[in-house]
């Protein structure tokens, strides 16, 4: 800590930071534009001017930019000095000369950083009489609207998009006050983090196109703290509702996880909540029935001795309620058996091995990263963004040697140019991180696992050796092991995406070998397929295959399927046979899917935006999410349907289910601490979901009923569907929206809720980590090393490929996301395609069905394998077979699926 003097008042601030960040951390208001806590300082906008004095005798001082001034002991500055105030007002006035007169028709209005800063500097009247420069806009795809006239040329957009997120299709064109931020030509912004431009842009140049389509001002949105459901990372989000529609999802800052940024799947995937074909009424054999009837049928089914199939995308509470209803011995996991095996390994490794599962902030601190068999960029984009930052650590180290502070963004990047830290990508196909990698090795899944085991052996000779490795792979293993040995903070990243359980085991083996070498837990980060995959596994379900097998023997009288589509998790014919042999099937879900058409009883449940519960992400962090709106029609929380059907439990509110779950499952004991209980109050009041500025209370529903409805009561949480109460002082887990006096924008007002700007939230970041590394666990080595697979002629080994848009089922239903989903295809190496006679499409044998799919030549595909995109709409359903026999399709698609 160093002592500085601001306007004559002494303050203590952390050493090494810049003055702007320090002043904001002290809670002082200083206008700024180009600086961003995650992007650092470039001193471009000249807005954060302060007067810096030499010593206590200096009364004149000089104007300095706070963002470019390092804090030092005895630094004396004037924030309110007339020279600084005048300078800042002058800058705003200049920035505003070309700003169009269109706040009323701007989506940013009301949460605009430029509005806030203009008010803060006191610029109210326009003196400039000249002409305003204008720009033509571009079409930037289904997610982002472009309105270039509003630009103040702070350069935040390109700094985020290009430097931080690695995009290359957003550029800056022209010169001086004509600069233009856009694409070379009209077209969708390709980077999967483009949505962050909406929050990064201090004004309304980039706005949320999906939000604009049903626009509502920030003050009218009813919001609640939530957790993203579109991958296993568990980014914190704030969904906002108005008039019964989920209007948008924005980032909710979490110091350890997503920080300031979300991926586009998380931000724009919310559209599935608003789909017109949602399941909203209980259905019995396709006919709508009442809630009571549905409940009675569920009870009947339970008495018959039903089995339960849990869901990796339903909350822990819902899964636990199902497990209680059917009994732990009848509780199965609603995910593919291959995923089950990998998740089981991950669960065991995290719980009892001496390894550490890092948060995203810790990932950003890694100096050597090894990615083993996972296309992180497509399966967990936010994790890939963190890895991207980790590759900059060598830049920062080089800068530190020259005494350049890490926040001196332009200087650090100028120094390092394109130098990136060691990242090794061992993959089964091309991945989004390949461009950053020092070494990219592409092999079949079994060979990647073998390579992983070889690295573990090279790190720790006690680990089993791999026989029959090629010389090239042996060298790779040696050099990667060498780099990991030298690292101060190595990180291994793997996951379930490859579909090869041995890869997960190999990643754990490497981390364990590193832990033994370093005598302290090494970091290993696992990507899990869904938002609560790990949570489901912690409830100790049996694998789905067992349920399908036991139905074969006719011993399953009924099945209750919770929020999952069996047709995605098992082969079509196996599911068909299961559903026909099971006496009665009950499905609890919110969106129509293949299983819904086959279930006798369908009970509607709420989506993440309408219900409450707890998710466990891939890191092993239990996080509570809250309802932003009430469910449609007769839909209810899944756990409530199941609890009401239970013959003994009389659970009335979520806390009781959470408590019962924590008591029953030792590893989940701390999940009750993920958020304050429902009886939490501030000054006797709940936390409001609505802002104190909410409008239309007496008119919104006046056309239906002239009397204002009583606010809906929420017995499950400490949040209220009203505007009464204190949202500002709410604990981080209950913060419904980010707003502070003078600070209306989401990205900037958050500073008022942080201990230190860009650091942890006040009172600690929300969520509870369930696993802490076992310090001296003697983990048994995985000894079953897969054998290298020799290719058979005519048979291709399948390798799953993932797409940010399309591979995840819920987001793929969102209208805006649909535009970005690739058409179904399979990918072959050009040499394999040549052997097939350069076919446009191939006919393949998919679990006995003949399917014809367009074929793509892709030289990142390993020869002898076929890349099969996972989950794309239009692809054959079910998990992809391990091998595929294929041949050139006859023209005119004579072999369409039978």
């Amino acid at each position: 800590m160093v002592g500085i003097v601001v306007d004559g008042e002494p303050h203590e601030v952390p050493a090494g930071g810049n003055l702007l960040q320090s002043l904001l951390s002290l809670g002082l208001d200083l206008p700024y534009f180009c600086w961003h806590p995650a992007l650092g300082s470039v001193g471009a906008c000249r807005q954060c001017a302060v007067v810096q004095y030499r010593d206590e005798n200096d009364v004149t001082g000089r104007v300095a930019m706070a963002c470019m001034t390092p804090v030092a002991e005895g630094l004396r500055i004037g924030l309110k000095a007339p020279a600084a105030v005048e300078f800042r007002a002058g800058i705003i006035e200049l920035l505003m000369t070309n700003h169009p007169h269109d706040c009323p028709v701007c989506e940013e209005g009301g949460e605009c950083h430029l509005q806030d800063m203009t008010v803060m500097t006191g610029h109210t009247f326009r003196q400039y009489r000249g002409l305003k420069r204008t720009h033509r806009n571009q079409y930037l795809g289904p997610f982002i609207n472009h309105e270039m006239n509003r630009c103040i040329a702070c350069y935040r957009c390109v700094r985020f998009y290009r430097d931080y997120a690695g995009g290359d299709d957003l550029q800056v064109f022209a010169s001086r006050n004509q600069v233009y931020f856009g694409r070379f030509e009209d077209g969708a912004l390709e980077n999967e983090f483009s949505g962050n431009l909406v929050e990064v842009c201090p004004t309304g140049v980039f706005t949320d196109r999906t939000f604009s389509a049903h626009f509502t001002r920030k003050w009218d949105l009813q919001t609640a703290p939530s957790v993203c459901v579109h991958c296993g990372v568990g980014c914190n989000t704030t969904p906002g509702e108005r008039y019964g529609t989920l209007k948008r999802v924005i980032n909710r800052y979490h110091g350890d996880l997503n920080g300031y940024f979300l991926c586009d799947r998380g931000r724009f995937g919310y559209g599935f909540v608003n789909c017109a074909d949602r399941l909203t009424e209980p259905m019995l054999h396709g006919q709508p029935v009442t809630r009571a009837e549905g409940r009675a049928r569920l009870r009947d089914v339970t008495f018959k001795g039903a089995i339960g199939i849990g869901s990796p995308r339903a909350s822990l509470e819902a899964n636990f309620a199902l497990r209680e209803l059917v009994g732990p011995e009848n509780f199965y996991a609603g995910c593919a058996d291959a995923d089950y095996a990998m998740l089981d390994t991950i669960r065991r490794v995290l719980a009892s091995w001496p390894v550490h599962s890092p948060s995203l902030r810790e990932v950003e601190g890694a100096d050597v990263v090894l990615v083993l068999g996972e296309d992180v960029g497509n399966t967990a984009p936010r994790l890939a963004l963190a890895i991207r930052q980790a590759t900059r650590n060598c830049m920062l180290a080089a800068a530190a040697e020259l005494k350049i502070a890490p926040w001196q963004d332009a200087a650090v990047r100028e120094l390092a140019q394109q130098v990136r830290g060691p990242l090794f990508v061992l993959a089964t196909t091309g991945t989004r991180l390949d461009e950053l990698a020092e070494v990219v090795v592409r092999r079949t899944p079994a060979d990647i696992a073998r390579l992983g085991f070889a690295i573990a052996h090279a790190l720790e000779p006690a680990a089993p050796a791999v026989s029959g490795l090629s010389d090239e792979d042996r060298q790779h293993a040696e050099s990667i092991a060498e780099a990991l040995k030298r690292a101060d903070n190595p990180l291994v990243v793997s996951g379930t995406g490859s579909g090869e359980p041995a890869i997960v085991e190999a990643a754990a083996q490497i981390a364990c070998a590193l832990s033994r070498r370093r005598k302290q837990p090494a970091s290993v980060s696992f990507v899990v397929p869904e938002c609560n995959s790990l949570g489901l596994m912690l409830l100790d379900p049996k694998r789905l295959g067992k349920a399908l097998e036991s139905a074969e023997s006719g011993s399953v009288p009924a099945a209750i399927v919770l929020e999952s589509d069996l047709f995605r998790s098992a082969r079509t014919e196996a599911v068909e046979s299961f559903l026909s042999r099971v006496g009665e099937t009950v499905l609890l879900d919110h969106s129509p899917q293949a299983t819904a058409h086959r279930a006798q009883i369908v009970l509607p449940v709420g989506t993440f935006a309408e219900t409450e519960g707890t998710f466990v992400n891939g890191e092993g962090r239990a996080q509570r999410f809250f309802a932003a709106m009430s469910p449609r029609g007769a839909a209810m929380d899944s756990w409530r349907w199941l609890a009401e059907a239970h013959p003994r439990h009389d659970w009335q509110c979520l806390d009781e289910v959470t408590g019962a779950c924590a008591a029953a499952i030792p590893v989940l004991a701390r999940m009750v601490d993920a958020a304050p209980r429902a009886d939490f109050r501030i000054d006797g009041l709940k936390i409001p979901r609505q802002t104190h500025r909410r409008s239309g209370r007496t008119a919104a529903s006046a056309h239906i009923d002239i009397r204002e409805p009583q606010p809906q009561d929420d017995t499950d949480s400490a949040l209220a569907f009203t505007m009464e109460g204190d949202a500002f002082d709410a604990p981080a887990a209950l913060r419904t929206y980010s707003w502070a006096p003078s600070w209306n924008s989401n990205g900037q007002s958050i500073a008022k809720f942080q201990d230190e700007v860009g650091g942890a939230l006040r009172g600690g970041d929300p969520g509870v980590r369930l696993f802490e590394p076992v310090q001296r666990g003697a983990a048994p080595w995985f000894t079953e090393i897969p054998r290298a697979v020799a290719a058979e002629p005519g048979v291709w080994l399948t390798v799953p490929r993932y797409h940010v848009f399309g591979s995840e089922a819920l987001s793929a239903r969102a209208e805006s996301v649909v535009e970005r989903i690739p058409a179904p295809y399979v990918a072959l190496h050009p040499s394999d395609l040549a052997r097939l006679g350069h076919a446009d499409s191939v006919e393949l044998n998919w679990h006995g069905f003949r399917e014809v799919l367009p074929v793509l030549a892709d030289d990142t595909v390993v020869p002898g394998t076929i890349g099969v995109p996972v989950g794309l709409p239009g692809m054959p359903c079910g998990p992809c077979p391990r091998t595929l026999a294929l041949r050139k399709a006859e023209p005119h698609g004579s072999g369409v699926s039978t």
Partner: protein, 188 residues
């Protein structure tokens, strides 16, 4: 002496009271012959100033287009929260309200919505005759609110001033706007 002065003062007070009674009588009688300020409402209607704060209307710009751009400022400033609306956008980028509802059974005719309106769309009129037997009839939708003229402000057209382009007004055609920049030009 003191007694005499007291009697004289009391006499003056009594005289004053009596004269005041006569003056009052005179005034009252005098009004018998003056023109009445009250009118025989409802047979006769009072003349109200155009600035009178009565029934709210939505007006059109001089080109006959809806002035309301659905910015929500009237709704947020409304102290009784009796305005609800939803933004929509036409194919050329013009914002307009998909629905616009005022619950007049809650409205206190304070005029803050008119003050907040950046486009002169929402205006209060000198009509106050809004009594209904059924409260539900006091809920006005856009078709009840929208009039055909510009109301009190004849010339203002928001989109002529604002930088956003709409159908019929391209970039650079608003007031004080330079033509759009050709970013492919190499000139400085």
């Amino acid at each position: 002496m003191a007694g005499l002065r007291q009697i004289a003062m009391q006499g003056r007070a009594v005289l004053g009271i009596v004269l005041s009674q006569f003056r009052t009588l005179w005034r009252v009688l005098g009004h018998t012959f003056t023109r009445a300020d009250t009118v025989q409402y409802p047979e006769q209607k009072p003349a109200l100033s155009p600035r009178y704060r009565g029934r709210i209307v939505l007006t059109r710009d001089p080109d006959g287009e809806e002035r309301c751009v659905a910015c929500n400022l009237c709704a947020v400033v409304c102290p009784v929260a009796c305005i609800a609306l939803q933004k929509a956008e036409d194919a050329h980028g013009r914002w307009y309200p998909e629905f616009f509802r005022i619950n007049f059974s809650r409205c206190i005719l304070c005029g803050l919505c008119e003050e907040a309106c950046p486009t002169y769309a929402i205006q209060l009129t000198p009509d106050f005759e809004m009594a209904e037997y059924d409260r539900r009839n006091m809920v006005y939708e856009k078709e009840h609110l929208l009039i055909d003229g510009p109301g009190k402000y004849h010339d203002y057209n928001f989109y002529r001033v604002a930088g956003k382009s709409i159908g019929g007004k391209d970039k650079g055609e608003a007031e004080h706007e330079a033509p759009p920049i050709d970013i492919h030009s190499l000139l400085p």
